[in-house]
């Protein structure tokens, strides 16, 4: 891509001081997303995927969170670093330049206000015009996200909508001011598969329509494979691998990515051979182990000379200009590892 990416995150750290110690939730995160591009962020709970996005949206309480690093939005008027910018400046970017949709459409809408009123509120923040104009725009948006009979349903309340329909409303609300960046945090996790495929299709269509940069946070490797251009794999607060969807799925370079891909049963594979589980569980973010955070669960750590995995945290090194991973294993050992776990 020749154009500048819309979002550039550089060395972002997010930590929460707690009674038990400092929780290092995001650790030295750097990535970019361009308009029209879909970046998927995968990882298990506690890996830092949501925390990172909330930092970009400026939704952490700055008094109780230690945030360092930079996150530039390259607006037409010039770049703005949302980490160092004034809260008031960030507030004015939210909903306009960048928008977010959340996992649970059941609790993200206010039960006392009609769908229309909630959409009009989002619209009127950045648009001049009376309520009628706002309502017209709300109906347009509901129509666009595939809500049948939008002119009538705009006056209904959230409880009258099903889960899938509410997620459509959330998408309509997020997009009502034509944002350049949309962050979707597990947008289909609470939905049934048949509704999930409707919503994924809708998000693809909307991305084209608005030429947005899309960050999709999910733990579902199937969803990632369907929609992502690029993938960041996160583990214990760090990006452990980053590459194109093809790189990650066909040439994974980190033992965690390799393990993750092989631990899921795949639809269509009918021989019930034993699943290859990743042993153990993720480390506590309060007392991260020295060296590589994945070491305790990694079957290949003993193949790295000089006990390096236990002493030095691997740096993000690039195998190619678009494919990075944090692992001490040599290329030859990686090829062997891929074969041993996955057989490919």
């Amino acid at each position: 891509m020749t154009t500048k990416p819309f979002l550039e995150v550089k060395n972002l750290n997010v930590a929460f001081p707690t009674e038990d110690g400092v929780v290092q939730a995001s650790n030295d995160i750097s990535f970019t997303v361009a308009r029209g591009e879909t970046l998927a962020v995968v990882g298990e709970s506690g890996s830092g995927k949501s925390v990172t996005s909330l930092a970009v949206m400026g939704l952490h309480n700055r008094k109780r969170t230690n945030i360092s690093g930079q996150a530039f939005l390259n607006l037409d008027s010039g770049p703005v670093d949302v980490i160092s910018a004034d809260e008031e400046v960030v507030r004015k970017l939210r909903g306009k330049a960048m928008s977010m949709i959340f996992q649970d459409p059941m609790s993200a809408l206010h039960p006392y206000y009609s769908i229309g009123n909630q959409l009009i509120e989002a619209w009127s923040l950045y648009n001049e015009g009376d309520k009628q104009a706002g309502k017209k725009r709300a109906i347009e948006m509901l129509d666009l996200v595939g809500i049948p009979d939008a002119a009538k349903r705009v006056d209904e309340y959230p409880h009258q909508f099903s889960g899938g329909m509410r997620q459509r409303v959330m998408i309509a609300m997020a997009l009502i001011n034509n944002p350049s960046l949309l962050i979707a945090d597990e947008p289909t996790t609470a939905l049934d598969v048949t509704v999930q495929s409707q919503i994924l299709q809708l998000m693809r269509d909307m991305q084209k329509e608005f030429n947005m940069a899309l960050i999709l946070i999910t733990h579902d490797l199937g969803v990632v494979a369907e929609v992502a251009d690029r993938v960041n794999v996160m583990y214990a607060g760090k990006i452990v691998e980053s590459g194109s969807a093809e790189d990650i799925y066909y040439r994974p370079d980190h033992p965690y990515s390799i393990g993750l891909l092989n631990s899921i049963p795949k639809i269509g594979e009918l021989d019930s051979k034993r699943l290859i589980a990743i042993p153990g569980q993720p480390p506590s973010l309060i007392s991260l182990p020295q060296g590589c955070s994945f070491r305790a669960r990694c079957s290949f750590a003993d193949r790295v000379p000089n006990n390096l995995c236990a002493t030095a945290a691997p740096a993000l090194d690039n195998k190619s200009s678009e494919h990075f991973s944090r692992c001490h294993l040599s290329e030859a050992e990686l090829v062997k590892a891929r074969k041993e776990i996955g057989g490919n």
Partner: protein, 326 residues
């Protein structure tokens, strides 16, 4: 052939509900489970799948008589248990156990792991060889927990470990049947495989029958021998696993399978997808005729008036559809 562990015929569970507001007296019936047949043998796993609200969880619970069935019969090892009282059921409980979805809600936070797992012995009045504590520690070890943690409380464990506690509790009395209701859906991907493997190993060891209730079709495909697909309380299709996944005959099954995202960027994007329109209709007011007709692309007038019967269409393959796929 051996005797089935459990045989269900025409099982129905209807719930009464009020419609039209909290003060209205008009009653409606939610037909959560509306006619399910099933036969399960030792060592077999039957997957019960469908979207939320299809009745799979209610079916699982009614089978264990956690709900009183509205109609139908439940036969456990040749004995009709349909109308047994809770007291009469008690001795049978050691034979049929349940594993729940949410490992955070299903363990009493005030009890230690030892008490939680040991409760099974107390309730049934059984003293295992070597005493309860030794047996609990043996069970903990078997499911992959550290036996030294016997005096810890549930909050000291991660989700995956808690689910292991739930599994240890369920297998404590060596049951013949376990109903597992979404046992891995609350767990992280890297932990899911651990628990699935554990369940499979234990099944091999004790020759237990599993009824595996889940919405994740890839997990069901992995673990089941037979699969029953439900929609709005009715069985749409029932077949051996390979048959169902390679050659689904009901349009709903076909759509459901095509909706599962494939973890392969090239294959996943190329495959044919059937995107169903709309949502699941309300179970209070299900469509007339075939319950799936409102979302089915093959629906005709016949489907809107006549309820399709669940009919045999091949060896061990049954579907309820007027216009089956080829």
């Amino acid at each position: 052939m051996t005797q089935p562990v459990l045989k269900i015929e025409g099982l129905k569970k209807h719930f009464a509900t009020t419609t039209g507001g909290a003060f209205s007296k008009s009653k409606a019936m939610v037909k959560a489970v509306d006619g399910v047949d099933l036969e399960i043998y030792p060592g077999q796993t039957i997957g019960l799948v469908g979207e939320s609200g299809c009745g799979k969880t209610t079916a699982g619970r009614t089978i264990l008589k956690l709900y009183e069935p509205t109609e139908g019969t439940i036969t456990f090892e040749g004995r009709d248990i349909t109308h047994l009282s809770p007291k009469e059921m008690k001795p049978l409980r050691s034979q049929m156990q349940m594993i729940f979805q949410d490992p955070f809600a299903s363990l009493n936070p005030r009890h230690t792991v030892g008490t939680l797992i040991g409760a099974a012995f107390d309730i049934q009045g059984v003293t295992p060889e070597g005493g309860v504590e030794a047996e609990v520690q043996r069970l903990m070890k078997r499911v992959g927990l550290n036996p030294e943690h016997i005096n810890r409380y549930p909050h000291e464990f991660s989700g995956g470990q808690r689910q292991r506690i739930g599994v240890a509790r369920a297998i404590a009395l060596k049951p013949k049947l376990i109903v597992a209701d979404e046992p891995v859906s609350a767990l992280d991907v890297s932990i899911q495989a651990q628990v699935v493997n554990l369940l499979e190993d234990l099944q091999d060891e004790f020759n237990m029958a599993y009824i595996f209730v889940a919405h994740d079709l890839s997990v069901v495909q992995h673990i089941s021998d037979r699969v029953i697909v439900m929609y709005l309380g009715k069985v749409m299709e029932e077949a051996d696993k390979v048959d169902l996944f390679t050659h689904p005959r009901h349009p709903y099954t076909k759509a459901l399978l095509s909706a599962v995202p494939v973890a392969d960027p090239i294959k996943g994007r190329k495959r044919e997808r059937i995107i169903l329109q709309g949502d699941l209709p309300s179970p209070v007011n299900p469509p007339a005729g075939c319950v799936f007709n409102t979302r089915c692309w093959k629906a005709t007038d016949k489907c809107r008036t006549e309820v399709p019967q669940l009919l045999q269409i091949g060896t061990n393959h049954r579907i309820a559809c007027h216009h089956p796929e080829n």
